[in-house]
């Protein structure tokens, strides 16, 4: 089951399904790294609310994904890690230290807004991106 990627303004939002195979995760990684350039996105939000299990492969893929997105000039926030998933991750010994994390989609969007509107230059780029979006529509 492929992960749908929603384009919202200058952000990309990827919403995980419960059952993701390793292949789905790698496809998502490739798609996001491509689309960040295609849509000139400032941020990527990955919503894992529905994810059943965060195992070592998923954690490693998310870490690489966040780093690749950073190399493309955008930020990544992971949102929606459920309490029991967090519990299992800690026991397993997984860390996502280098990745920005927020409670839910709303918090994730707030963080993105903060991060992408700090500098004047960034805000300008953001406005341009928004105009681009309007033209596309």
């Amino acid at each position: 089951m492929e992960v749908p990627i929603l384009k919202q303004g200058s952000y990309l939002i990827a919403t995980f399904q419960a059952a993701l195979t390793d292949e789905d995760l790698l496809k998502l990684q490739d798609a996001l790294v491509m689309q960040v350039g295609k849509y000139r996105s400032r941020g990527v939000i990955i919503d894992v609310t529905a994810l059943d299990v965060m195992d070592s492969f998923a954690a490693r893929t998310l870490r690489s994904l966040a780093y690749m997105v950073r190399l493309r000039g955008a930020d990544t926030v992971i949102v929606g890690i459920q309490p029991e998933v967090a519990f299992a991750m800690v026991q397993l010994g997984l860390t996502l230290e280098s990745v920005r994390i927020a409670l839910d989609l709303e918090e994730g969007l707030a963080i993105m807004d903060q991060r992408t509107k700090t500098g004047k230059g960034l805000a300008l780029v953001d406005q341009r991106a928004k105009r681009g979006v309007l033209r596309e529509k």
């Binding site: 059943d52 299990v53 195992d55 459920q82 519990f87 299992a88 026991q91 397993l92 010994g93 997984l94």
Partner: protein, 158 residues
Amino acid sequence: MRNEPQESLISKLAKAPISVNGEIRIPISSDADIVIARQQGRAMAEQLGFSASDMTIIATAISEVARNIINFARRGEMIMSPFQRSPRRGILVVARDQGPGIPDIHLAMQDGYSTGKGLGMGLPGCRRLMDEFEIQSDVGKGTTVVMKKWSPEYDTGP
């Protein structure tokens, strides 16, 4: 945590296989099978009265050992079954393959040791997640991992 059971789980299994009632066997040969195995394991854990947290823990451990099969042996099988030692019950998870085997199990069980395919967290992590954990591996013959999680609920019987 009961990480070191008095009698070896693997030798117990060899002597008298635990009740096969409700046993599920899943051949593992692709990454989609990993997802099937962990979903089936979660469903069985739910039937056995495990909490949501324990269900996720069991599914995570299954995911890790099933992925080890794919990464190192290419194919193998997962066997999951309920077990009962009155008045408590639990879930037994066995991962078995005829792959190359692990030359140094002590090394493989160390946190952070990795062959480069993972984070080096799989096996030691599973030992922390489950109540009982045992691994046996013979180079050239394959690897068997046996894990148990006890349900917090006492079985009150039908």
